[in-house]
């Protein structure tokens, strides 16, 4: 699955997804007698883009805001601030028939195939539902389309699976059904939220290869959300690393993995275990534990945990994402 090198930095029109200063805050309450209303900055001023036909990875630890970002893009929730453009259309302003079209164009694959498929629906019903909702085709055409999608995702022969229920399928097969359901309406952009993290290793590779193959065959662009940098390296052209709602680094997958620049990315990469007992990894250079970005102080989000923190990191606001070389972005005062 070694993917070809990414083409040169394209112009803005080449972006299928453009996220501009996106923020999503959630109100949280603290205290009982002196109730205080605070804001959790789940996504804070994030900007990035995904080019047509590209797989972009959004990587970070749990609670960093990567799933919220995915849900914002699919318009399952609306942003507090900032804008999202899919095919140059502002996602939060889309209405009426354009919204119906948007829902077909942008699809989502969820993490847990045990939760995301209705246990009382047959595989046929599950995969046809998007067609029914959008009123695409008559029954005959739908049957044909469903069979075509199932064989495309490796559920073969489709006729043997159409009238089975999710519980009769293994985890890998369920995730393939979930992929078929997402692709049945011919989306151009798919938000894949940890689609392989619940699957076993020997099954996972198959699903990863399927996603890569579908991108080749159907020209779908993905936002691939994952906590696993090794998986992201294999599947993604480019990777954005998120920390407490902020994007701290972006670059091609190989750049991020081989020469991480931001101290957080460096720590994250050095913490990934390696399948070779002869290699002794150094202790990741990071302090403390993950906190929650609730009413964060106006300083670098990574300040408390950063081994390289200086005065400027506490005195100034969180650093802007700066381009350090072609297509390589880092948000750090020290670099």
């Amino acid at each position: 699955m070694v993917l070809p090198a990414t083409p040169d930095m394209p112009d803005a029109d080449d972006a299928i997804l453009r996220v501009e200063r996106l923020s999503k805050y959630y109100p949280v309450s603290r205290g009982f007698f002196q109730r205080r209303h605070l804001l959790l900055h789940a996504v804070d001023d994030a900007s990035f883009e995904v080019r047509r036909g590209e797989v972009s990875g959004l990587v970070g630890e749990s609670g960093c805001g990567k799933t919220t970002t995915g849900r914002l893009i699919a318009r399952l929730i609306l942003p507090t601030a900032g804008r999202i453009f899919v095919d140059n259309a502002d996602v939060s302003k889309i209405q009426g028939s354009d919204l119906v079209e948007f829902r077909q164009k942008v699809q989502m694959i969820f993490q847990d195939p045990y939760e995301s498929l209705d246990p009382r629906m047959t595989i046929f019903d599950i995969v046809t539902e998007p067609l029914n909702v959008n009123g695409i085709g008559n029954l005959e055409e739908r049957e044909e389309r469903v069979a075509e999608m199932l064989s495309l995702v490796g559920i073969t022969p489709p006729s043997a699976f159409l009238f089975r229920f999710p519980h009769e399928l293994s985890g890998g097969q369920r995730q393939r059904v979930a992929i078929a359901r997402a692709l049945v309406v011919n989306p151009t952009f798919v938000v894949a939220d940890e689609p392989t993290s619940m699957l076993d290793v020997s099954i996972r590779t198959g699903v990863m290869k399927l996603l890569a193959q579908l991108r080749e065959d159907l020209g779908i662009s993905y936002l691939y959300i994952t906590h696993d940098l090794a998986v992201a390296r294999y599947l993604c052209d480019r990777i954005a690393v998120m920390y407490l709602g902020k994007i701290v680094e972006m670059g091609t997958a190989e750049e991020i993995v081989k020469e991480p620049l931001h101290p957080y990315t460096r720590a994250l990469i050095s913490a990934v275990p390696v399948p070779d007992p002869a290699i002794r990894r150094p202790v990741p250079n990071i302090k403390g534990g993950l906190s929650k970005p609730i009413n964060p102080l106006p300083r670098c989000r990574f300040y408390e945990r950063c081994p390289d923190a200086r005065g400027v990191c506490a005195d100034q606001n969180h650093p802007e994402l700066k381009e350090v070389s072609g297509g390589r972005f880092v948000a750090c005062h020290v670099l």
């Binding site: 590779t205 993995v257 275990p273 390696v274 399948p275 007992p277």
Partner: protein, 344 residues
């Protein structure tokens, strides 16, 4: 070496409505004092069943079909309940899977550990137990003032640490850690694995790590055992198993793992899916998914045999890797079959 735990042809089945699930079949292994064993395999391969068998915590619908488990040369399955109760926690302790949910939410964390100590060591006073909890918390890196907090006030990593502290509370000789870090983020996982490893070396404790993650097992184990469909398929010193794996399933598992180091190599897919253990395939249980399978594999169950010093496998056509593992991976990327050059 001084053997602490021994499994001898241990076979355990579960009774279900659909029939007998052959969850653990003929597992033979031994563990020396102070040694760390890594048990690796995919979900449903029987790793947790092995752990539960060692703790004698099997559910009512299970049945030990044959074989023995010896802890300090005593057969666990011929001990009385009272003897087993004394063995648990003081002899063998366990860090359960999803440990974060194994703390009782309505009791203070410290009190739960004190309870474990006082129950298993009636001679210990509550004050002594409290002091021990304080030093355990220090050992696993939880601030002392958190002793009297409730589990919901802890983060995921801290709950995991508390559960580790609880497992160590009665100075066990063996700790079984069932997926101790699976739900945690990599940075926290790294910290906790390093801590457990340090503690183990300090007090010369034996460990069994259970995980689906080949790389985690590679980092913490002296000896690695690979399980597939209820059977051990390969076992040996970690260096041997990871540099010169002999069983095709071990190779497949390692090839399927994306790595963050070195050049990107093609990921291997193991075709098909693990068998249903209600009716496992005849012969080698891996043969329907194995590209090296011969007629023999379909008919005869491969014998567990030594292929090198302390390195065992159960395979009719074991893989032979002559060069380094990374060369073998490269050869495979070139379309060659693994070890094909040296094996007929």
């Amino acid at each position: 070496m001084d053997t602490l735990l021994k499994l001898d042809d241990f076979t355990m089945h579960y009774r279900t409505k659909a029939g007998w699930v052959q969850a653990v079949d003929g597992v033979t292994l031994s563990l020396a004092r102070g040694q760390a064993l890594g048990l690796v395999g995919e979900s449903g391969c029987g790793k947790t069943s092995v752990a539960m068998s060692i703790m004698k915590l099997l559910p009512y619908n299970s049945k030990v079909v044959r074989g023995r488990i010896l802890f300090e040369d005593r057969d666990i399955y011929s001990m009385s309940d009272e003897e087993v109760r004394r063995m648990r926690w003081k002899g063998i302790a366990m860090i359960f899977q999803a440990a974060m949910n194994s703390l009782n939410p309505v009791y203070r964390v410290g009190n739960q550990i004190v309870e474990a100590i006082v129950t298993h060591e009636p001679e210990t006073s509550e004050r002594e137990a409290r002091e021990r909890v304080a030093s355990l918390f220090e050992l696993v890196g939880i601030p002392k003032e958190r002793v009297d907090h409730y589990p919901h006030e802890y983060s995921g990593g801290m709950k995991q640490r508390a559960v580790i502290a609880m497992a160590l509370a009665c100075n066990p000789k063996l700790v079984i850690a069932d997926e101790p870090t699976t739900a945690l983020d990599v940075i926290v996982q790294d910290k906790i694995l390093r801590e457990i490893d340090q503690i183990r070396r300090k007090i010369n404790m034996s460990m069994i790590y259970i995980s689906h993650d080949v790389s985690v097992i590679a980092e913490v184990s002296d000896v690695v055992a690979v399980m597939y469909a209820g059977k051990l398929v390969e076992m040996g010193p970690a260096d041997n198993v990871f540099k010169k794996p002999r069983h095709p399933y071990t190779c497949g598992l390692m090839m399927a793992y994306p790595s963050i180091l070195g050049d990107k190599h093609e990921l291997a897919t193991i075709p098909g899916e693990p068998p249903n253990l209600l009716d496992p395939p005849a012969g080698c249980r891996f043969h329907p998914r194995c590209d090296r399978a011969s007629v023999e594999c379909r008919e005869a169950d491969p014998v567990w045999r030594a292929v090198a010093e302390g390195h065992y496998t159960a395979c009719h056509n074991p893989v032979e890797i002559t060069g380094t593992w990374s060369e073998a991976v490269k050869a495979l990327n070139g379309g060659e079959r693994l070890g094909a050059s040296s094996n007929a």
